[in-house]
Amino acid sequence: MIALLFLAAALRISVPYALAAMGSALSERGGVVCIALEGLMLNGALAYTLGAYATNDPWIGIGCALLAGLLTAWLHAEATVRFRADQITTGIGINLLAAGLTRFVLVQVFHSSSNSPRVPGLPPLPIGALARLPGIGDLLASPLVIATIVLVVLVQLLLFRTVFGLRLRAMGERPEAAASLGLSVLRYRFAGVLLCGLLASLGGAWLASEQHSFTDGMTGGRGYIALAAMIVGKWNPMGAAAACLLFGAAEALQITLQGSAFPSEVLQALPYLVTMLALAGFIGRAVAPRADGIPFDPEEH
């Protein structure tokens, strides 16, 4: 029973990580480094809150979050893909922009610099008796949990079993070869970044829906943990999701051990340590796509 409760907690915590991590896997497989996950999630969370607040309908909140994610990612893609700006700096810029902008809107709309009023969360799915299962019942009834599990499979299939996925990966490995076949590197890279925006903002919306409000800086570094999970998962959606579950378990353990003598900071730092070990080649080799982070200039080819 305790194990089940623990697993449920780990799964719940890892939902936003998994969504954002899958997104960045798509973006980076297409050759665009996306460290803007934090900003994408934050904008998604605020947009969800605004939508749900204005209409009292959480599904409109989800729609707003997706739109915000799309717009933010579009900004990222314009800068990095069209103008070939440095991808890491652009990501930092987007994160700073989201931090400032969400605070600005929070003050303007809700007249508070810390949090929004209470907004509705997503309603549970009608799954009948299953919802009464101890420990995991409400988890199974949560629409975004189910959606995330389905998405992990779908995104994995999209990336490795479809023509689109093959071409997207080509843009991250050898864009010049893809371009010589007449494919538009620009279009595919845009697609990768925009899909990343949609997924990451959904992760942000989940946070706001769970908490029934938006609070300043509520993503609290989750975008960076998702980025770490994507690397530990070796740029694969399934691998990234598994790493998210691992990181979620570490966080659940941290909550379980609260108040005990065990230093929670060790668990806090665990995802980052694991990622560094993976990058150094101690836990299998984590190698980025060959052209990841390198802008593609069609005039040079």
């Binding site: 600005f104 303007q108 060790v266 980052y272 560094m276």
Partner: protein, 347 residues
């Protein structure tokens, strides 16, 4: 960038200025959107930031950490390395300065010297880690330095259990000898502004970085590495060692930047004291075009925005300044490739 493209080259050199103008223009839309006059707000902001002795002192105080973090990012960048770990390096530097200042009994100003050196050492060692990992395992310094930021935060929180004053998130006050004096003791016009001797250290280091980069063999090697690593290796430069050294020096600059708050202002370390100055260092280096003197100007600009934003807060939420800062980054980073394309056509 062709030799003939005089107009294009000139445009490129002006790109930081264009980015600032574009960001201010975009900010003006926000200001107008909430019913204020943008020109009036900007005039007020910069008048307050530079117009009075106290305002200037506040601007300089806020520019000081940005000068250090900007120099740190720029130095690494010259060597072809992206140090995003500046935030954590500064954090640990400040923590080390606070501990040495509070617990190592040294006579007089020697205490301050030791505390400043401890800050540089802590930041430098932390910064060297991603450099060594890159040299040894080829691990990307960007991801590692992001990870090390968070590890630094956890490390300090953990160490803080035994060190922080009861029911606070700060360390004991440093000894009087370890504090850095405020500049208003020399310049009464700035009375009340917290600008302190940390700024002077920063100015000396800016000159030192310029000399290092452009007047020494090591600086030449760093820049060669940044411009063309394979050619540098062919030319006999030990790439791994130079990368580790560059990241170490970059981290040391960031670490010393922690003294502005810890030794010059509060006289203790406080959780979260860096408040994003490390990330802003990227903007400062970008706008200063990775030149120490450009970094100085950019730090002053962002320092003025930061203080001026507080002053106009009653009419325009100061969060707008954060939006402006981010817009400057995005415009500056996109302007260069864009202008390069334009100048290529003109040339």
């Amino acid at each position: 960038m062709s030799a003939r493209g005089g107009r294009g080259a000139w445009l490129l050199a002006a790109s930081p200025l264009l980015a600032v103008i574009a960001a201010l223009a975009a900010g003006a839309v926000f200001i107008a959107g909430i019913g204020e006059n943008p020109l009036e707000i900007y005039a007020l902001l910069f008048r307050e930031a530079f117009g009075t002795g106290y305002g200037l002192g506040q601007t300089l105080f806020r520019a000081t950490p940005l000068l250090f973090t900007g120099l740190a990012v720029a130095l690494a960048f010259r060597a072809g390395l992206f140090n995003i770990g500046v935030e954590g390096q500064m954090y640990l530097g400040g923590f080390a300065a606070a501990l040495v200042g509070a617990y190592v009994p040294l006579p007089g100003a020697l205490a301050a010297v030791a505390a400043v050196l401890a800050a540089g050492l802590a930041g430098g060692l932390w910064g060297a880690i991603p450099g060594v990992l890159k040299a040894r395992f080829g691990a990307h310094e960007v991801i590692n330095s992001i990870m090390l930021n968070f590890i630094a935060f956890s490390l300090v929180s953990w160490a803080g259990h035994g060190l922080f004053q009861t029911a606070t998130v700060r360390t004991r006050e440093v000894a009087a000898g370890a504090t850095l004096p405020r500049l208003d003791t020399l310049l009464p016009a700035m009375r009340g502004a917290p600008v302190n001797a940390s700024l002077l250290i920063g100015l000396v280091l800016a000159v030192a970085v310029a000399l290092l980069l452009f007047r020494t063999r090591l600086g030449y090697e760093l820049r060669a590495l940044g411009l063309n690593a394979p050619a540098a290796e062919y030319g006999g430069i030990a790439i791994g060692a130079t990368q580790a050294l560059a990241m170490g020096l970059s981290g040391a600059l960031a670490g010393v930047g922690g003294t502005n708050f810890v030794l010059g202002y509060k006289h203790w370390f406080e959780l979260g004291f860096t408040g994003g100055a490390g990330f802003m260092g990227i903007a400062v280096a970008l706008l200063g075009r990775n030149h120490p003197f450009g970094v100085l100007v950019a730090a002053l600009f962002f320092g003025a925005l930061s203080y001026g934003g507080l002053v106009v807060n009653q009419r325009v939420p100061r969060e707008l300044v954060e939006v402006l800062e981010a817009l400057v980054i995005l415009f500056a980073i996109s302007a260069r490739p864009l202008l390069e394309r334009v100048s290529r056509r003109w040339a």
